[in-house]
Point group: D2
Chain length 175, copies 4
């Protein structure tokens, strides 16, 4: 099993990337292989050059797309932007080829926010998207609210949050 | 009053743009001024060059942003992509400057789909986003399902749909 | 103007009722009339005796229904139960006669939770319901999370929360 | 394996019950045991006598509750009422004892509507509730829109719909 951990934003040095790296360590301790997928690796203009009539024609987009497609289980780290998921994550999905690469696969979601929401509505929206695409979503969706206050030296330190990620990782492996 | 009609996709020759033009004619007959906003006018790489640390620095993005910002009422024509709104529309919103340009303003949503859904979930998600940003959303949100079957010569012909757009336009003017 | 404040649960001595009373005082200081509606006044068996083929036939249900119907603006105090709104509130709505009493009216929502969510998803769901019924929902939807920790002597004491309720009340009056 | 099929309404002779019976036959042909759960078996006043301080004390409610609790997989047949799930279904859930009986279990949802929606938003809302409770939801959620036009002699006749139910049943057994 190879779990793909998708950093849900292209923001540089994002908190989401830090959480993704920490999640990878959790999986590593469980002897589960994983790989990070960075939306920041997408070509800058993919929203115009990889969608619609250009679907499948942008090689730089296709490289990230293939990296995602080859997985069978996923973890999405989702920062809350304006009360929902980041637009770039949805644009990446909008560029995927048909039949979509997520059908009958399984994923886990983690929500992140500076405020108190913890990305709960972002994850609800994304669940709708993934269900539409035929991908099962693990019920446990940790909400990491007030994230900055709960990290130190680029590491999540809140024990409750760490426990939820550990629990989720174990459930995802068996899901 | 100047209503901004936002075409919710950057797809070329989109059905959404055709509906937006038809909506403009409805408003024109009511002697209400309106203006189309095209996401296709955004710079190709705005998802990388107009967000986060580059917020407010991309002049081509700012031009569209200013066009939107100057409005007080909006109509969003939303094609359903993968069970939600198009990623590019959300990315445009993610690039808007703070304090956001939508606060205390009012909008109307129109959903479009090739399938039977009519964009109802896309509009529900977008309502969450706009409420988060403090913009009121008109309750009447027409769902234009099976859109291709209901158009002829680039014009919406379904009388039920046309009636809903007319009713919505009248409500929006008074909203 | 007469604003109806609906306590969204039939739980006895509910926190929602306390918040509703405090909201009434806020409106009173603004010289705006309001009235509390208690779902606990509904007949015990209304889910079986006031819906479907019995629609409109249960006089005790009709009394509460009429009380709601006569309003033009509403405040709904919504405790989060199991990640959404209370079933009883939806059952009350399911028993309303057609054409529904909420069409073209306006409302404001307040979410309450013991946990950190503040009823944000409950309010999102209820917004879908009210938009379906044609009622406009004020964008500002305060989320009163960890409610027990923010009350003292049956009164909300958190200044941020109180400020949000005040702001919402003022917006609702002008909405 | 024993699959519990829950009829999501207490309406007499409901379409949901007919669909539930047909689903049971689909499972029977696959040699999978199943049992119908009728919300109409709940005591008339359970919304007042089985919740909150009365949680667990109403024997007639407990009987249905135990019937549900003993399952490990579920099918929920959900008619769309006022743009969401029926209030009575949520009230039944609101009365369940803690720790909840759905945690770590799995379910499938079927949406039903007279109109074109097919209960998609009702199923989205219910997915939020079940994820909150820790129950996994199968991604494939058939939307049986315009249900009356697609039935004959109390049986679903639309081949597309029947195919979706068959596909869902097979996925649920392996889920």
């Amino acid at each position: 099993m190879m779990i793909k951990i998708i950093v849900g934003t292209n923001r540089k040095n994002s908190v989401s990337e830090k959480i993704a790296r920490q999640y990878q360590e959790i999986l590593q301790k469980m002897d589960v292989s994983s790989e990070l997928v960075h939306l920041s690796d997408l070509p800058d203009d993919f929203v115009f050059t990889a969608l619609y009539e250009n679907n499948g024609k942008n090689q730089a987009y296709n490289k990230v797309h293939d990296q995602v497609k080859s997985g069978s289980k996923y973890v999405f780290v989702i920062p809350e932007y304006n009360g929902s998921f980041p637009g770039i994550l949805k644009s990446f999905i909008d560029g995927m080829t048909y039949p979509n690469s997520f059908k009958h696969k399984k994923c886990a979601l983690i929500g992140i926010s500076s405020g108190v929401g913890g990305g709960s509505i972002a994850m609800s929206h994304l669940t709708d998207v993934f269900h539409y695409l035929g991908m099962h979503v693990l019920a446990l969706k940790p909400r990491l609210a007030k994230i900055e206050e709960n990290m130190s030296d680029n590491l999540l330190t809140n024990r409750l949050y760490l426990g939820l990620l550990q629990e989720q990782a174990e459930l995802l492996v068996r899901f």
